[in-house]
């Protein structure tokens, strides 16, 4: 019944040519629940709703067997770069001196 993480990933890769993609199977094994993080140039100039529609559209077949799909990130490469820089700088400075 279920769908594999690889299936979800390859469907998204072939349809949205992402520069970054991370698919997490959150179903605990049955393959019915996934979390997706995706970065693609095709999202450029599109609102979040449209981006999510694109992801849903790419997974039409898979969605028949998926019960829950969570799209945690749908970003353009530029937004992704900014996000990464933010998270890099927001991390506490590494402690070079250890008491």
């Amino acid at each position: 019944m279920g769908v594999s993480k690889e299936q979800v990933e390859s469907a998204l890769r072939s349809k949205l040519s992402p520069s970054h993609i991370e698919v997490i199977d959150t179903s605990g094994g049955c393959g019915a629940s996934f979390q997706v993080e995706i970065v693609s140039e095709e999202f450029e100039g599109k609102r979040l709703l449209e981006r999510h529609r694109m992801v849903n559209g790419a997974l039409v077949e898979e969605m028949k067997d998926i019960h829950a799909l969570s799209i945690t990130k749908a970003l353009t490469p530029d937004q992704w770069k900014i996000k990464q820089q933010e998270s890099a700088t927001s991390q506490p400075p590494s402690t070079t001196t250890v008491a």
């Binding site: 979040l48 999510h52 969605m63 028949k64 829950a68 799909l69």
Partner: protein, 175 residues
């Protein structure tokens, strides 16, 4: 986040009335009378807009009711979404959400402090399938603001975090 419970979960949800019995000694104790609180609170807080939809004459096992969105249902939905500033199609009710994602959106709307209506799509299979086509969105919950499809759980959470949702809701409640 959003979920589109499929076939097996449908079975469990349709057979929600527990069939078990506790047997202690020789006396069989049947479960207490209060069952499906979700359904009950739905009727009590039920909407003024009656959604009258002919249910699939076929059995529920036609999981994918193709063309569930007939013209009649489309007209009804047009009316429903435009006659409410904020309306959420969800699994369960405001007071008894039956899905974590639906619950998340309910909590967000509550904290936004705006009046909103909810419709339990688990109560009507035809409505549930029809809405997927109507919104062109495969899962529930589905949030409509000012007659327009806003998004599912992920989008609502995101917009809530950015403040965009609050802004939009305020605008909607003033208009």
């Amino acid at each position: 986040m959003s979920c589109s419970m499929g076939f097996h979960s449908r079975l469990t949800s349709s057979s929600r009335i527990p069939s078990f019995e506790f047997v202690s000694g020789s006396t069989a104790v049947s479960p207490p009378a209060v069952r499906c609180p979700g359904r009950r609170s739905h009727t009590s807080s039920s909407l003024k807009v009656g959604i009258k939809i002919k249910t699939c004459s076929r059995r529920i096992d036609s999981t994918r009711c193709f063309a569930a969105l007939n013209p009649e249902l489309k007209t009804t939905l047009d009316k429903v979404v435009t006659s409410h500033k904020v309306i959420l199609f969800m699994k369960g009710t405001k007071d008894f959400p039956q899905c974590g994602f639906s619950n998340t959106v309910v909590q967000i709307l509550r904290s936004a402090n705006v009046p909103f209506e909810t419709i339990n799509i688990l109560d009507n299979e035809m409505l549930r399938q029809g809405l997927k086509e109507y919104s062109q969105w495969p899962t529930f919950p589905q949030l409509y603001i000012d007659g327009e499809f806003f998004g599912g759980c992920d989008i609502t959470v995101e917009a809530y975090k950015s403040g965009e949702l609050q802004e939009l809701l305020e605008k909607a409640s003033l208009s």
